[in-house]
Assembly symmetry: C2
């Protein structure tokens, strides 16, 4: 069976948070939004339909858990999440991944999507946010 | 129990395809992309986390079925789907809905998201596409 290898594009744009049963979780390196990325740890995936049905249900539950963590992350910086945006796009980085982004009417891209809106503003130090995300995910 | 009422915003921008066990399915009225929208037929939903876990798994499976239908729909007009984009945003229309959009490198918004990219180009007549989507979904 082929080994899961994380696409280096994620390393350049996000910080490792930890591993849930199915997905590797990363914090998007953009301090403007509370934003986690879930990457199922199976080789050769591009589309959700390639996962088994039990793994798809698992992905859904991990996305819901990430949503709760995103609300906590937002709270760190006074960003009250009014809406979750959950998306599997992959037009730029093909390896299957799911974005879970907290949104509010005062954020830079509102009400449009965050993807492709504007250049990220990297965290000065992301370690606090990573620790908060780990705790919120029970890691 | 409150009754499910479809937000009129969907009626203005899409055509009814039919009902799956959980979701009402609509064809987005933009002939540039093969694009279906799934709206869980339960009252008062804004976020996926409000669904029960079994309904979340059902939503996932219906999104996968919609993805297959989107590939068939694309075939109608020579649009070969290279990537599925699946997204639950809801920043503009709050009622919970999931977009399932077929994408290819030659489409107008590639590689950015379709949401908010440019004004829709309505189908001249959407009835063929609706029939194809119904058949592909087993409706």
């Amino acid at each position: 069976m082929a080994e899961f290898i994380l696409d280096p594009a994620f390393v350049a744009t996000s910080h490792a948070v930890g591993d849930l049963p199915l997905c590797h979780v990363r914090l998007q390196d953009d301090g403007r939004y509370p934003w986690l990325v879930l990457i199922p740890r199976l080789a050769g995936l591009r589309e959700i339909e390639q996962l088994s049905a039990p793994d798809r249900a698992r992905l859904m539950e991990e996305a819901v858990a990430a949503g709760k963590a995103v609300r906590v992350l937002g709270g760190l910086s006074g960003f009250e999440v009014e809406k979750l945006n959950i998306g599997a796009l992959g037009n730029v980085t093909a390896q299957l991944h799911v974005h879970v982004v907290g949104r509010c009417a005062a954020d830079p891209a509102w009400p449009g999507p965050v993807w492709g809106h504007s250049a990220a503003e990297a965290y000065g130090g992301a370690s606090d946010a990573v620790l908060v995300a780990r705790k919120a995910l029970g890691l």
